[in-house]
Symmetry: none
Subunit: 230 residues, 2 copies
Amino acid sequence: MAANILLVEDEPGIQELLKFNLTQAGHQVTAASDAEHALTFLKSTLPDVILLDWMLPGMSGIDLCRRLRSDERYQPIPIIMLTARGEERDKVLGLDSGADDYITKPFSPRELVSRIKAVLRRRAPQMTDDPVEINGLRLDPASHRVVGNGQPLELGPTEFRLLHFFMTHPERVYSRTQLLDQVWGDDVFVEERTVDVHIRRLRLALEPSRHAELIQTVRGSGYRFSAEVG
Amino acid sequence: MAANILLVEDEPGIQELLKFNLTQAGHQVTAASDAEHALTFLKSTLPDVILLDWMLPGMSGIDLCRRLRSDERYQPIPIIMLTARGEERDKVLGLDSGADDYITKPFSPRELVSRIKAVLRRRAPQMTDDPVEINGLRLDPASHRVVGNGQPLELGPTEFRLLHFFMTHPERVYSRTQLLDQVWGDDVFVEERTVDVHIRRLRLALEPSRHAELIQTVRGSGYRFSAEVG
DNA sequence: GCGCCGGTGTCATAAATCAGTCATACTGCT
DNA sequence: AGCAGTATGACTGATTTATGACACCGGCGC
């Protein structure tokens, strides 16, 4: 699960407490005390989740949230808003800032951690280590194993990540560029055609259990992982 | 199992009783009558488990628990809260304060001992001295012996701990860093590649009984202990 | 004190595996 | 047929892991 989390919270005590709890839950936490620091940090690093306090000195959490949502680069990052009791939940929701979830103080660390997991599962399923199974093809991130109809399949690191991404995002076409971003990482500079090669390697690896056809070519668009025919 | 236990309990009678029972069960017990004494003790020694009475003079058990949880040094130590009957409502609070378990007075010594064992197992399964056996490979922490298909195997201290960790955490990949943290300890600064060497030594040690293949390399990720093929 | 010894960590090197690129063959579509 | 997009096989440098050797350390007996 181990996610990189940006925590934006001005109150030192709460900041420490949350940082501690999240670290204990296996996450990597960076804390910022206001919107400015948060933005500065975001220029250099993209976290997996952002925890945003509603009340912040200077630019409020809501404003920051809106601003992040309007920037394509930050758009895919899940945001969880931290709100204090008394700030009517409905009101907060009504202001719809584009956050993925809201959580009201006081909350238990346990709840926060599970909300983070939930949000990750929704936005970036390949980050969780839940096993995935489709059509008899099973991939388990924890043990780093792939099994097709009971038969163990061998695949290299990149093919493993590629398959994991596909299995957590089935029935949808991804362009080569999107796959490079998602599976290789945004910062990598690689030929688009390289994707073809790894798709081929993945198909070869899945062939022994007849699962190669789950990887489908969509001419002119990219590739798709699908249990459907065609 | 022999764990070092810090018991924080203000009532002398109960303190004595618990101390006696736990000592009887083979544990090393240190008693503190309040949070201050507990903290003083903790500055010099880190126990394996902390038993914390909910009601304490001065700083309450819950506060102490929170405080301990906010200190990185004490973070990994399991805490069991002792609560009186009728404080049921506070049970949730106790858990949210970061305690690992709670137990309601009055309780039997037997129950307490088994909860301690359970908590240790959860936090650090390799700390208990229950024998582990997988695929004819048997490791007994109590006697510090490893036997493969009836044949005694010789392994050094580090290899023993490594194998113990693996056998208590099978079917899961661990990175070199994780293994260093878990088997060597967080405070050790050792080259990551050192893990490779010990993996090799462990494999050599397991070879005589053909158990070397239980230690599997997952390229790009780390190592895995598994009874499965591949 | 001295040398032996098992245990550890580090390194250099070999071996294994992988990633990315390219040239070329193939495919479907107009 | 011609074109654009894809598949495939081969190649090479790079990365990752395995292995053997070695130096260091603390304990121990002499």
